[in-house]
Symmetry: C2
Amino acid sequence: MSLSNNSIERICKIFGYLDTLDKQGTKFASSLDLAKAIGATSYTVRKDISLLNIIGYTRKGYDVKTLKEELGQKLCLNKKRNACIVGLGRLGSALLDYEKFQEDGFDVVAGFDSNINKLERIRTDIDVYPVSRINEIIIRKHIELGIIAVPSEYAQNIADTLIKAGVTGILNFSYVKINLPKNIINVNLDFTNSLRFIAAKLSGNTTNK
Amino acid sequence: MSLSNNSIERICKIFGYLDTLDKQGTKFASSLDLAKAIGATSYTVRKDISLLNIIGYTRKGYDVKTLKEELGQKLCLNKKRNACIVGLGRLGSALLDYEKFQEDGFDVVAGFDSNINKLERIRTDIDVYPVSRINEIIIRKHIELGIIAVPSEYAQNIADTLIKAGVTGILNFSYVKINLPKNIINVNLDFTNSLRFIAAKLSGNTTNK
């Protein structure tokens, strides 16, 4: 199966929305409901879902629970994965608190910071360690995903260390683009891009697509 | 001019990358450079740029400074806009610290929280106020953008208050989808969607598109 990044991104959003609907007790959702929730057209939603060889569309719409399970299975979203957060400043420690990671199957099992005083002061139930122990802890705790929240100038170095220890996916909250080997999956989350998107839409560059 | 959401999203990312290149002193960038940086194909990048009636492709590639200015102008990304953050827990106060908002032309001019003790204790140069003053401050400070970082159960109520006061764009960090009038531009930032995307790609659902 070979999906474009755009399709994967949309399917992940659909999965997240189905999960919300399921928790609310909603049984069925139309492709239009899903489309509105993720900001796409219902044609695109039906196409994305059909790419996964899922049909499951009834007269009442998609069965929420079934579709969620099927999408999760096809995209391996039901598998628990361990993650760590590096950089426990305000943003990093906010991320330690981000309960949705856990709810959604991403288990944050370690936090790292170079400042020992910070590690001693931080209030969290998650185990925290000095950066010097990244390699040991990642191996011991089978950590696949690294979340980077260090200042920009350290991001590349931390990414290299994480990858050397065996991390294969990186979510980067620092302001810089990091260079990574091709086999590493990487997302840069730059909050200002979201504000720019809003600003551009407010300026009238808008369709409903 | 009528662009799809996907195009606008990519152009905002291209704009951000051009800004980085410009600050680094890089003069030219090929469509492939831009494509790699934002995770699209160079064909898509050229098409997005041409949709804006920008040509500007030379033998050395795009002129970084010129293209940045043109994209910024077409999408009104050069205009300064005032923003506020509601909810000053760990994530909200991390966002008060997020220097890139300011650098990128989004001026966070107010923070709000319902907890007066928190407002007194918080260390920040940005003016902070109780939630009860949202309406007054938004009008006085000409705030267009609202960043929501309150617990999920309060998000809808806060969004309604912001919109009533005149905010037209909302960046929502809470875990719920909020219902908004059609004229309001809204982005939900759910960090687990980024981790899901990484997880799906790690499972081999991958093309280079």
